[in-house]
Amino acid sequence: MADASTVAELVNISVDGRPVEVPPGTLVWDACEKAGIFVPVYCAHKKLEPVAVCRMCLVEVEGLPKLQPACATRVAPGMVVRTQTEQVRKFRDGNLEFLLLNHPLDCPVCDRGGECDLQDFTQRYGPGRARSSITEKVHFDKAVKLSDKIMLDQERCILCWRCVRYYEEITGEREIVLQERGVHTVVDSFERQPLQSQFQGNLPEICPVGALTHRQYRFRARPWDLRRTASVCSHCSYGCNIFVDAREEQIARYASNDNPEVDDSWLCDQGRYGFPELNRPERVINPEARVGGLRQAVSYQDAVARAAGALLRVRGDHGGTSVGVLGSPRMTNEEAFVLQWLAREVIATPHVDHRYEPLEGISPEQFRLGIAELEGCDAVVVIGDRPERLSPVLTLRLYKVANKLGRQILRVPETFSAAQVVKQLPAAGRIGIVAAQADRAAAMGLRAKAGSAGREAAVLTITEAVNSRGCQDLGLLPNVGPGYRSLEHSGLFGRQLLEAAVAGQIKALLVVGDGADFEAEGLFHEALAKVDVAVVVTAWQGVASRAATVLLPGRTIAEKAGTVTNTEGRVQRVRTAVEPKFTFPSDLRILGDLAAGLGSDLGVQALAAPVFELLAAAVPAYRGCQAGLRAHWEPGS
């Protein structure tokens, strides 16, 4: 985007003697950062408007008699900024003394101990010793249950206003307010009503101290006990970037990892607090096989050999088309690609899917619009409430588009008249259309209508689950091959495939992944009971694991390495954040070994990186995208 700021002349300023060049309008704080100079801040936050209330960032600006807040002062040509002078140092000490005056100093029992800006800056700048005879502190409520998710300690609060501004600027919900004044000022929920927002989990993260904490994480761990891994939230298809913080191979919390293109640093509570799902103890931890009617533990090699043998036998007796292959929208791209290859090329069956319900009439054009590109739209039409229910963080991007950028957001019901909607749109400009995948036909219809009315329209389709998009792109579907290649013969969709199994046409099932899409379906149960062979690779005990004739322990998404594709087609890495309780090969290796047992060779090592090269050769849109780029699909179709 070649906007005014890149065209306008840069401003030269100096920070502590270092020259730095920044666009006009840049905040001194940002210019300092660019010059490599750290300025301590409490109230300032990259995603919030400056308020300059904490005064921690005061610096000297030549020619001005008073110290200036770096967080709220804009650069001017030739500005000379000094951040390390005696004056600045003295005030920083003094300001920290002020902040600590009424602070409870209960770091030893505070969740934020070790990752608290008050602790850190006091270490770095603080006066070093207490001098005051004033020991009486103003007291507040130390354990306000703001909701079932958030705890507030009003004594630890340094009144940076970030939480209040977060609600004002980012969600628009205004659930936290400032009350009283002077040294009695506190933040609290409005009239102590429980917070309702679906985005509360961001509060403890923007709070610079231990005033707002996650009840889920309260007293659970110390930051230095945690191992941090950058990954992707597995709750939905939006692909928010996260850090997985683990302690003793259990996930202790998710934290946001700002990706301005995707999450803009915010997570929804369903995603953030959803990980206990992955910590559940009901795991499959040993390879097992039915030997003479009885299931028993077997060696990994034995299990693979038995699985391959059984599948070969069914194929030999009834043909490849008597085998059904089911994956999961929570598989990685690498697994999905290998699984569809295993089905089509090795087992020679067209019956492969990753979902229960059929998905027809899909094309890359339905995914043309990117998440951040919503900000470039003059108006955005949102079809129904499904998109935001599927991917709650989308709501925050839409709020930004409406509130901060002042663009029109048009929410229409799932059934609507495209002609009527087009009439309500701006006369010209770019139109974004957001729809759940279930409403893709309506979205494409509206796009066509808007297009013929002279608007440039593009669609952002919200898929289900973390990697349904990748599974679709890579052909883990019976009706399209990798890269949406059309097929000579379509196979059966998930549900149909299970029906065929119940009817006796499908004799063997290969089920890989967490099975969550199928586990709740009675049909799945029946099909598994009916087939002669059920090879199951899963992390979880459940219908599939119990019915398996051969069972191999799979990994959860937190235990895997690979890539997943978010709903807008961004290919992002998931990394192993915790190790499983067993040492058997990864799901991807299992698929490679199974192929080998069936007499085929993948051609590369069954590891994420080489397999990605393999799939990118088959689906050129993915080439070079493994580090977070959107797959680039040729226009058309």
């Binding site: 300059a52 005064r55 005030f91 002020f98 001098r131 002077g182 000022t185």
Partner: protein, 427 residues
């Protein structure tokens, strides 16, 4: 003194709080004339008068008006009637005695600035004055001076009287705007300044009651004549509230520049009970203390600044020789602690720190190290706060400490207040 008066020139005329009474002394002629002159000529006249804001900052009124961006409408006028400065009660007099003079001033300013909505933000505790103003505004509407088509012109002007909720900070212009909008009374980040983005995000002028009450005179008699009442550097007249240890506390209108503090003290009957003058605060609770050596300083912006203080909001608080300055400082700091809005750290925590130390000092239990600590805390507040409230919370303490160091030192470790002990005056 028999100098010409501006604000109080009609004092004593019957029925001044009614439209009729006010009209009898020439009331609303200024507005009629202003409408004939047109906006530009009014602004020129105000500039010629040299009128400077009477709310405390003494910013030239004509210049302030000139900051409004051209062609951005609606614009708003806010009248600052929050008068909460300790020792200050002159706006109250103007509203009680001359409500129509104020309304006429407001309407003249509104016409000059092409404003159609003028808000009068009045201190919450001024309930009687608020009712009085509301009544006066109703009358002005009825007489055709306000409302739709003022005096038969196409110009509409609504007058809205809004009561505050009892916060000193809401006298600060941007906090006033927040409060008026129904938000928390706290100052806003500047820029943008109110002239560019004020009430409801629109260009706004905030002026003090006294500032605007001068306008009927300036328009009818001319800016030059107004200016000549004072000196070149300090034009016009000004109301001063004299209180404290004087025989006849009250509000006095005097020419600027030509009058001295001693003159003001005399107007108020001199120091009471035959006592000696000890100290004074020339501009209300916020300003630095001055001593006997400053009594002959004229009421001139520059001269008072050179003496180390400011005329602030025009309130002279006189202290006699029985006064303990540590006690006064302690009470003033308590005021700021109570009134700090809580927005910024150095003011919120600093005023608490300061007041706790002052209590110890006044009780005679603080050490000399704590006295040094007090200065250091003040240094960490002054010029570091978000708005002037926090800065001014240090001014009296620091100036008193500079001027009367022995008095502060004698408190250290004394076990009680050495000044008040033995004094019969329970201050």
């Amino acid at each position: 003194m028999d100098d010409e008066k501006v604000l109080t020139r009609h004092l004593g005329a019957p029925g001044l709080t009614t439209v009729g009474g006010y009209e009898k002394v020439g009331g609303y002629q200024g507005l009629r004339k202003a409408i004939q002159m047109g906006p530009e000529a009014i602004v020129a006249e105000v500039k010629a008068s040299g009128l400077r804001g009477r709310g405390g900052a003494a910013f030239p009124t004509g210049t302030k008006w000139g900051f409004l961006p051209k062609d951005v409408f609606p614009r708003y006028l806010c009248v600052n009637a929050d008068e909460s400065e300790p020792g200050c009660f002159k706006d109250r007099v103007l509203m009680e005695e001359f409500p129509h003079q104020l309304l006429e001033g407001v309407l003249i300013a509104a016409y000059a600035l092409q404003v159609t909505h003028a808000f009068i933000y009045i201190r919450g505790e001024y309930r009687f004055q608020r009712e009085l103003l509301e009544r006066a505004a109703k009358e002005a509407y009825r007489a055709g001076y306000a409302g739709k088509g003022v005096l038969g012109t196409k110009w509409d002007c609504e007058l809205i009287v809004h009561g505050g909720a009892g916060a000193y900070i809401c006298g600060e212009e941007t906090a006033l705007l927040n409060s008026l909008e129904g938000r928390r009374g706290q100052p806003r980040l500047k820029p943008p300044f109110p002239a560019v983005k004020g009430l409801y995000g629109q260009p706004t002028v905030v002026n003090n009651v006294e500032t605007l009450s001068n306008l009927p005179y300036i328009v009818t008699e001319g800016g030059a004549r107004y200016a000549a009442l004072g000196t070149e550097a300090s034009p016009g007249t000004r109301l001063f509230c004299v209180s404290g240890h004087v025989e006849r506390p009250g509000t006095f209108e005097v020419p600027m520049g030509k009058t001295t503090f001693r003159d003001l003290l005399e107007l108020a009957g001199g120091v009471w009970r035959g006592r000696q003058f000890k100290a004074m605060q020339p501009g209300g609770g916020s300003m630095q203390v001055l001593g006997p050596q400053h009594l002959d300083v004229p009421l001139d912006f520059k001269a008072v600044a050179e003496a180390g203080s400011s005329l602030g909001a025009g309130a002279l608080v006189v202290m006699d020789d029985s006064t303990c300055l540590v006690d006064v400082a302690s009470r003033l700091v308590d005021f700021y602690r109570h009134e700090s809005c809580g927005k910024c750290v150095p003011c919120r925590e600093g005023t608490y720190f300061e007041s706790e130390l002052m209590h110890r000092l006044e009780a005679g239990i603080a050490s000399r190290a704590e006295l040094a600590e007090l200065s250091d805390i003040c240094a960490n507040m002054e010029g570091r706060c978000f708005c002037p409230l926090g800065d001014t919370a240090t001014w009296f303490v620091m100036s008193a400490l500079r001027m009367f160091p022995e008095e502060f030192e004698s408190h250290c470790g004394a076990g009680r207040c050495p000044v008040r002990a033995g004094s019969e005056v329970a201050a």
